[in-house]
């Protein structure tokens, strides 16, 4: 049985960054990555039209060469799935029967695209976009389809609608919500996005749902709940993420939608950590337990988890590392149809418990910066403590980093509201106050 000081389950950005960080600080400790993929690639590139349309060579998707693993003495166990965890003996069994022993274990297994919960959703032409094999399948289907539907109103659908339009397909976007990105965006911002989609040739069907999938082996169309029939040879499904946690259930690791952890990314079982899309962690920025699925979050969590694995190791290996909380202000950006869109922090405008015993609940308020009419619009969300907790950005990503800093530093909005709402005011000047 092979024994590793540090064992990563998952070879995506979280697991790979963790292994890299561990090697930087512990030159000799044995490290292995178990992955169901051939090696680390750029998952984020999969949804970019330039990649799909061949403007970026396919090989650019690989972010680590085979020699990188060798040079860094990281054993990469590819095309393998972890199927059994034994926390008492500190072992992980793989689908090929191999058993690995660990001293410190990182669970960074990510997630899979949520399946379309309809009869017949296994027909050819129904595509997801989560891993390389799904991307390849989608590329093949885009070549032959004339009409496509996109299901869902999020980042994947937005970027894929553009890709399919650029490929010359007739595209219909079907969403349950009353407007795009509801409820994370407001109606004003959503209208900017919907206008861009419509002008880009996408037909939008709001508050709509598919009730039936037509076709034998291959999708030929769908029927909506209102009876409308739409012909399509391709359906792109972007309705979220699910994590496969079945293999962990017997071992007492606390799970919910993801693997539960504290702010140090430690699970409830000693020497087992989690990071990336699968981690449902205590997020100090929002003061609640959340699961965040984005590239930068996974990358930075990989680092934090590795740091904390080192900190709990022997003195010579820990190299002076002390335990650190994960508290980066999370954000995500995307580009499409001439718009760039970003969200950071907590963008849910909601009621919050008031500190005034008699006041009950207090609504978050929104400071608007720019306007939809001007084509550049930011909503800054302020909580009942007068602190910025999140923001949404359309065509104004230059303000993303200053606002993230203001969120991080618990900046008090009082007396700065007019500056925040003035699109010509440089927000960086507030960072020095």
């Amino acid at each position: 049985m092979q024994n590793f000081k540090y064992l990563m389950i998952g070879g995506g950005v979280a697991g790979t960054t963790a292994a890299e960080t561990l090697r930087q600080h512990d030159k000799d400790g044995s490290i292995a990555i178990v992955s169901d993929e051939p090696r680390m690639y750029s998952r984020i590139m999969l949804s970019k039209p330039n990649f799909f349309l061949g403007k970026i060579p396919f090989d650019n998707v690989w972010l680590r060469e085979e020699k990188w693993y060798i040079e860094n003495k990281i054993e990469f166990i590819g095309d393998s799935l972890a199927t059994k965890l034994d926390t008492k003996n500190k072992t992980v069994e793989l689908n090929n029967g191999k058993v690995l022993q660990y001293e410190k274990l990182l669970l960074a297994t990510g997630g899979e695209a949520r399946p379309w919960p309809l009869e017949g959703s296994n027909k050819k032409g129904i595509c997801y976009l989560r891993d390389l094999s799904e991307a390849k399948e989608l590329i093949e289907n885009v070549k032959t389809a004339k009409q496509a539907i996109a299901i869902g109103s999020g980042f994947v659908s937005f970027e894929m609608c553009e890709m399919m339009r650029l490929a010359g397909l007739e595209v219909t976007l079907i969403m349950r919500e009353p407007y795009y990105w509801y409820p994370l965006l407001d109606e004003e911002s959503a209208k900017m996005i919907e206008k861009a989609l419509t002008e880009g040739g996408v037909k939008i069907l709001r508050e709509s749902e598919v009730s039936e999938i037509l076709g034998d082996e291959r999708i030929e169309g769908v029927i909506l709940k209102n009876g409308e029939k739409i012909d399509c040879q391709l359906a792109l499904i972007g309705i979220g993420l699910v994590c496969n946690l079945d293999w962990l259930k017997e071992e007492g690791i606390e799970i919910n939608r993801g693997i539960l952890s504290n702010e140090y990314l430690e699970t409830n079982i000693s020497d087992i950590y989690t990071a990336g899309d699968v981690a449902e962690f205590n997020y100090l920025v929002l003061g609640e337990r959340v699961q965040l699925g984005n590239w930068v979050n996974a990358q930075m969590q990989g680092r934090t988890a590795a740091n904390n694995m080192l900190a709990s190791s022997s003195a010579e290996a820990s190299a002076g590392q002390s335990k650190k909380e994960f508290k980066m202000v999370s954000f995500y950006t995307c580009i499409g149809f001439g718009l760039n869109i970003a969200m950071s922090g907590d963008v849910r405008v909601k009621s919050q418990p008031s500190h005034e015993a008699t006041a009950g609940k207090v609504e978050c308020r929104v400071i608007k910066r720019g306007s939809p009419e001007s084509g550049s619009f930011i909503r800054i969300i302020v909580d009942c403590n007068d602190e910025i907790i999140g923001a949404t950005f359309i065509n104004r990503t230059g303000d993303l980093m200053p606002i993230n800093k203001l969120i991080e530093f618990n900046f008090k909005v009082t007396s700065h509201e007019s500056e925040l709402s003035d699109i010509n005011f440089d927000l960086k000047t507030l960072l020095h106050k």
């Binding site: 998952r43 590239w295 990358q299 950006t333």
Partner: protein
């Protein structure tokens, strides 16, 4: 302009030039997360060096290299003092 160049003159550094391929950059901002003193996003959602390029000298070589390595589209290129590309290799 598809490629934006920044000269680096940090004392003791082996890196003499930073280049951002704006066609490749998708604004994922992983570079900003790794080295916020070096990188920020502009209003076109592309990575640029902070302080109108002066931030090119802000980070040490290891941090600058990590920020380039973190890019999911390999849009950041680093060159040594002799002009030889050191990342991506």
């Amino acid at each position: 302009m598809s490629k934006q160049e920044y000269a680096r003159s940090k004392e003791g550094s082996n890196i003499g030039k930073i280049v951002v391929d704006r066609d490749l950059c998708i604004g994922a901002a992983s570079c900003v997360a790794v080295s916020g003193e070096t990188w920020e996003l502009d209003n076109e959602n592309k990575a640029v060096v902070t302080n109108a390029g002066a931030g090119a000298n802000a980070a040490d070589d290891a941090t600058l290299m990590m920020s380039a390595q973190s890019c999911p589209t390999k849009a950041i290129l680093l060159f040594d003092k002799e002009g030889k590309q050191v990342f991506p290799k």
